[in-house]
Symmetry: C2
Subunit: 620 residues, 2 copies
Amino acid sequence: MNVHIPPKDARAAPESVTTGPITGSRKVYASPKADPELRIPFREIGLSDPNEAPVRVYDPSGPYTESDAAIDLAAGLPPVREAWIAARGLDVAPGRPVKPEDNGNISAERLVAPCPATRTIREAACGQMVTQYEFARAGIVTEEMAYVAHRENLAREAALDGAGARLADGDSFGAEIPEFVTPEFVRSEIARGRAIIPANVNHPELEPMAIGRNFLVKVNANIGNSAVTSGAAEEVEKMVWAIRWGADTVMDLSTGRNIHNIRSWIIRNAPVPIGTVPIYQALEKVDGDPLKLEWEVFKDTLIEQAEQGVDYFTIHAGVRLRHVPLTANRVTGIVSRGGSIMARWCLAGHRESFLYERFGDICDIMRKYDVSFSLGDGLRPGSIADANDAAQFAELETLGELTKVAWDKGCQVMIEGPGHVPMHKIKQNMDKQLAVCGEAPFYTLGPLTTDIAPGYDHITSGIGAAMIGWFGTAMLCYVTPKEHLGLPDRDDVKTGVITYRIAAHAADLAKGHPAAKIRDDAVSRARFDFRWQDQFDLSLDPDTARAFHDETLPKDAHKVAHFCSMCGPKFCSMQITRELRAEAQAMGDNERLSLEAEAGMKEKTAEFLEGGGKLYVAAE
Amino acid sequence: MNVHIPPKDARAAPESVTTGPITGSRKVYASPKADPELRIPFREIGLSDPNEAPVRVYDPSGPYTESDAAIDLAAGLPPVREAWIAARGLDVAPGRPVKPEDNGNISAERLVAPCPATRTIREAACGQMVTQYEFARAGIVTEEMAYVAHRENLAREAALDGAGARLADGDSFGAEIPEFVTPEFVRSEIARGRAIIPANVNHPELEPMAIGRNFLVKVNANIGNSAVTSGAAEEVEKMVWAIRWGADTVMDLSTGRNIHNIRSWIIRNAPVPIGTVPIYQALEKVDGDPLKLEWEVFKDTLIEQAEQGVDYFTIHAGVRLRHVPLTANRVTGIVSRGGSIMARWCLAGHRESFLYERFGDICDIMRKYDVSFSLGDGLRPGSIADANDAAQFAELETLGELTKVAWDKGCQVMIEGPGHVPMHKIKQNMDKQLAVCGEAPFYTLGPLTTDIAPGYDHITSGIGAAMIGWFGTAMLCYVTPKEHLGLPDRDDVKTGVITYRIAAHAADLAKGHPAAKIRDDAVSRARFDFRWQDQFDLSLDPDTARAFHDETLPKDAHKVAHFCSMCGPKFCSMQITRELRAEAQAMGDNERLSLEAEAGMKEKTAEFLEGGGKLYVAAE
């Protein structure tokens, strides 16, 4: 595994990133019978027991985890969508010229060179269908929809084969998760606005994925340079590292210099959707003064980023002038950067937000490239005290109104959500979002369920994330241990992603997702069979699982031992149960055993004792 | 701070443990007006803002966190309950002589010396009142009940003074959390069996605490030597370290040699209740062969441990012969050590569990010392697949039956719970426990909400723990990152305790505990005011919070800076909001502002702009 060390020189072009398979897994591509031209990526975990089928898991990590990954960052990833997009007959755009302010007017000697990979820039003509929403509404199943359908099914078909029934129970709170995901199901969900496939026509490297509550719960990771300078190499590696551990989308929240050129490296090498908050860059272009913001500079930024291939934009159009006073008595005011910028802008001029007033124009631009909306929650609560207050819900209602406008304009939409919410207010949040936003996918940050544990906010928020994911949130934005305190490093990003994969999976299980329990059961069988290596390989983080085991029982022999360090060989309940089961089988089927037990029959005792009955278990 | 390094020689007597205050806090003792002879311990966090009152938090850490802690491990902690117990006129017992098998027949050269501290050994005569339950039923408020009442109230009285209303909303699912906790309320909860104060009359060093769903949610940490030998010094330090970070009780799950003598060191130095699983030691006494277990050796072990001062015993009396076949088709069989031992015993002889058949006798012994029952869930599920199955619920119903027997015998009772449970089955578990066990306190391990993340099971289970705590569990047994993989080290114990303190606090918040939100709000105000040091000091782990901040912004000047590393000085939403609020105040009260905003009045614009409006914020 090639572990990248960030260069000291932030200007340096990225040269290498982490590659190679996750320990114990291999990358596989499957071509479904119905769509043989598609190559759907999965991660396959092989098991040591010949009676155990390999377990296929969803894999957002892209070509980086292939065993012989040949990555050329300057060339970008293979444009897997190129032919599909080309066939749609979109206009080729001349491309907006890069301006000095796109990179923060940085001096030549500090300028990061852009990614040299070039792509045809496309846009839809007026009235020409381009978004997944428009195709879906027209009854057309795109390649992206078919890809997503096969990707979501995982090993569902094989695993359910013969079973004839769902593998899992659950309570989905009105979600409608199908037994099998078909391309037509994906189309219908998108047409109803209940799911999106963020897929800019200028991001052909994308491996399509869906966000919607009738699909697997997804996880977003944030990257981006900030107060502390970081360069393109570091940001690309952050993205590759985050998707390696399971991030389904990545938001680039950069606010510093070189923002345009760093983004070019990220997008050309991203197999996952990339999201941004365009107002951050627009603000950079007006020297950081929100009062200088106006429509033209914002519009220019939207086009700049849409042509680069950004897949979804956070747009804080719900922060209206009338909402600002509702935050005056909050404990923590406005904690969203975009929200505070817009509140400042509105209040300074006593005027309505230009994002709100120009919302139709924003839709028209985003539609041309199929950039999805992520309607920002600029007034989300920043503390337990402010959760579910009038400001938050007023904005949410405005977001619902804007969702319908965006749909009418042909755009894909999801809605951002809080933030900080105690457990008893989480469901109210989810229910309100579903009700006022017409079931458009909810995309929540956490929520944090208490404010008293800075340094552990991946956990305070992982609790809330699991719950809101169960209740219906489609994508969970991760929180790292450094939240509120500092910038996440490599370990923090991994911890944040894995914590959120736990939350997302716990949510899928609780919703009764037909395929979710397959992996839990495989881990449990491996555990019960003392197949230690299988248990490690099936886990979200095989390296850490093995390292923890090695700390107490480092010898390879212990990886096949029928006990573990917690109880030692004498007290192993699992081993005792295995012996019990063998005895039970020897004595006949369970029903008979049960009847015998009920009757208190004693005659079996002698033969049981004859057959052994020592509790000591010799280590092998 | 005196950080203990475990000695290489497991035989060594403990000499030192971690002492001194948590960073930013000081230990205080309060003597309530109504009970001036009591000294109730709290931890007080002083804040830098003179307008902010210090925050008092619940503190189970004992004298170890006093600033001038003078700890003499060989003498044991001061016996704060001695006078109360002495006044009850109990019999002085001669004390069961220590036998070689009590320490696993270990050779003299490997024997750990017992703690030299001696205490009067007491027991109740037949028919003499001794348990907190018996006193409560008789309408008598003990010193322990009064102590607990004041301890639970925290700063509630002062904080609510003048407010006239509860500080928090919440949904408590039928719990009856009072505005203020009075000694009489504690008595009534204990009399109803809804709470316990585990407090062996032979553990006079104990600072009494309550476990019940109308009190703060509690956390238990497990320690104990196991396959890997550890000595008395290490175990005592584990206990001190666990309570330092917030463990309310500690279970000693030792199974190795020297078990009796190590326990003497732990109990004599424990300000929290100590729990054990007596069958572990009983099994050691019969060479690890469960088929040799019988009533006499078990009874002898109960008396041995009760005389030492153990406060609660896990008794797996719910594993009946008839339940064993119900586990035959499980994915992970029986995962409780005690459960598997008893299942083996029952099946081998085709006979009913002696724990079940002798339950009345067990009650009689435990009552004499006021050892509380923790009725073990020997058939708890060990995987998502086995959650809430027939075996688990059959045992739970038996535990409900035994609860009533124990109450009739005058004993205090709590019930142990799972284990591994997906989110959608957690509430069913809680509701069933409340229904069949007459609201006796529930004490759950986790539960883990998925099996796919070994190495992160503090998180998979922290999610379940927060939820079941909200639904009504009274005490949460922690899970460390090493669960399923190895033995926890010092860092794992701390991570496990803090994760569970998060879960317990999130649960208290969601239940609407009147005092829980005080600390969240204090953190949030500190955050909004950029009082970084206050934010660190108020957090569950001040050292980690500060260290994380230092990684990105190490200078002391940054601890008062009006920005942080996430957004940097330009994009700080908190600072923007502070400026907004100042402007809003200058413009008049909120109502007026709101009306103005609604009316879209423009005339204020000029004066706002005149007053400044730059987004740049200079770092101080």
